[in-house]
Symmetry: C2
DNA sequence: TGCCATAATATTAACGTTAATATACAGCCA
DNA sequence: TGGCTGTATATTAACGTTAATATTATGGCA
């Protein structure tokens, strides 16, 4: 099926080099020769061996994508954006998952380096134990997506999470809410911090005292959003609005609110973050912050690509704009 | 950073071969020699070049994964299963998307072959124009996941979709429903046919005449589920139950029903398919068919792996069992 | 002592490319 | 006629591995 230049060379009578150049459509091969060789190649279904090419050229046209949590529809969409951009630049993607485990992340990077990827795109693990020091020693270009690591801020492609979290909370405050529950994300995610900070700062700006117990940490998934909200209600924590770390958690929260007899948005207003595809179609169309997920992936790839082309280019943070979508789980607009 | 055997050889004074054998922990290298070489390797941060290894061995330890639609959370989960299984077998995954386009699929396969993947896992495009004939000519092992192609049935890992569709429809019929709307999937997906067939056969078994207009085709996404259901209601199509192709479509349908003032499950019962993670947490917890998505990916990889190890092994269809989850959008259980 | 087996290491070639360099043969001009 | 230019092709080496084969030293045994 595959064949090789050598084989083509023997069959055609031309040297391997000429065959190679003919197939790559280089200049100094006579047109008739080219045609003959290409015909032959087609006839025997020759496919060039990209592994050999990679070895020879020291370039694989492959990037490594290390995702911390691709079960999350958010990152799934980011990855689609990456794939899309990579394809249009004739690159491919080796995808590895880490499940938020720094050791697995480290291993993933190492093995991808062994596979000679030309660059690395990471949704990095951000906890206490992270690989930022190791990342700093990397000799190939890399970008972090949707998260940042201390000391590597310039390597990130982010969105304006702080600003939007702040804006949302301010709006709640302006509309009279004083007890705003924040279902925060896991501490090991940098976005949790940004969103929490936005929330906290907005409270302060509004002159509302920050209360610890109104911040409830979740793992970022629906199940936990449900449980934590349920518990919050049971513990008679009073709140009239929920700012949720993401849509998944918000969906869980909505469910808990319903079970406990709260009407949304009348009794409790709810807003999510990320704006997943289906959030709009929920029983109550979910208000959320629309993050351009695919674009995040695309921009990250393009950024990486620039650095792969010019290794000396300096890194600079990119921040994409998101947009608050007011729907049925909130009153204001 | 990387270095090479040659470099290690020069620095250590041993031949490249000895260095290679030492690092691979082969038998006939003196323990002290091994230790010395490995120390040195560690010291200079040597990482073996897997591209060179692949070329030499004619084996990349890489599989190609061709997904028709990874925006779909269903396939996203399947891919997690693949990745998981692959990793535990020391394999990696080149992921390519086709967006249900047969031409892109063909191109993807060709380029993956050029990259010398050891096997191929596909969520294939199934329409009129599909690549089944081309697939038949492939010289590397491949498996199709969650879909089948005529003439390649033995290459598929599937679930009992027909049976479950039949069971669901029968249950609806048994519970007195005579006007059961089927929001079917796109015709280019083999699962649409299986689910439709299950629906149709169950009606026949129940002595209910099949009516064309009670089958409404959707593209498999929430948006379309919403629109098609909305239209169905507007066109005064009477129905008391909905059997939806998948959960996404069901979510859209639920939304439309709500907007039109129908109460679920009292006025209309609804059941989905796939059982996506969050379906359980909807305002009305969605009844659905739980397909073991990650397992689907894992089994597919394992099946592929067997064939990569033993090229002469004959192919055989695998069918995984799914399970109907009765929740709040249906009355029976 | 001489031979053989064994252990440890070295040499060589190959995987399929591509780049650098070399060769062969025109045609052209002085 | 001799040398020069340019076109078309060929040869060689290299990328970093590993497998097959070769070499060397060592010890045991008759």
């Amino acid at each position: 099926m595959a064949g090789s230049l050598k084989e083509l060379s023997e069959l055609s009578g031309y040297s391997m080099n000429t065959v190679s150049r003919a197939l790559r459509d280089e200049d100094d091969v006579k047109p008739e020769t080219k045609a003959a060789i290409r015909n032959l190649a087609q006839q025997m279904g020759y496919t060039p061996n990209r592994v050999a090419k990679s070895l020879r050229l020291g370039k694989t046209n492959t990037i490594g994508v290390v995702s911390a949590d691709s079960a999350n529809p958010f990152f799934a969409e980011v990855i689609i954006g990456i794939e899309d951009a990579a394809r249009s630049r004739n690159h491919h993607m080796l995808l590895v998952n880490t499940e938020e485990d720094p050791a697995r992340e480290l291993e993933a990077i190492e093995v991808l380096l062994g596979r000679q990827v030309d660059g690395l795109l990471l949704i990095p693990v951000c906890g206490e134990r992270n690989n930022s020091e190791y990342l700093k020693t990397l000799s190939i270009p890399f970008e972090l997506i949707g998260r940042w690591l201390p000391g590597l801020e310039e390597h990130s492609v982010l969105t304006d999470e702080y600003e939007k979290a702040n804006e949302i909370t301010s709006l709640f405050a302006k509309n009279g809410h004083r007890d705003i529950l924040h279902l925060s994300g896991p501490t090991f995610v940098s976005g949790s911090l940004d969103r929490l900070r936005g929330y906290r700062d907005a409270l302060e700006e509004a002159g509302i005292p920050f209360r610890d117990n109104l911040v409830v940490m979740t793992d970022g998934h629906a199940e936990d959003g449900y449980h934590k909200t349920y518990e919050a209600i049971q513990s008679e924590l009073n709140f009239t609005a929920i700012f949720s770390f993401n849509d998944l958690v918000a969906v869980g929260a909505l469910r808990a609110l319903k079970e406990c007899g709260y009407r949304v948005p009348k009794d409790v207003e709810v807003i999510g973050f990320d704006d997943l595809d289906y959030s709009r179609f929920l029983h109550l169309s979910l208000s959320s912050v629309r993050i351009p997920k695919q674009q995040l992936g695309r921009v990250a790839f393009e950024e990486l690509y620039e650095h792969m082309r010019d290794k000396s280019k300096t890194y600079g943070r990119r921040t994409l704009e998101s947009r608050i979508m007011f729907r049925e789980t909130t009153l204001f607009d």
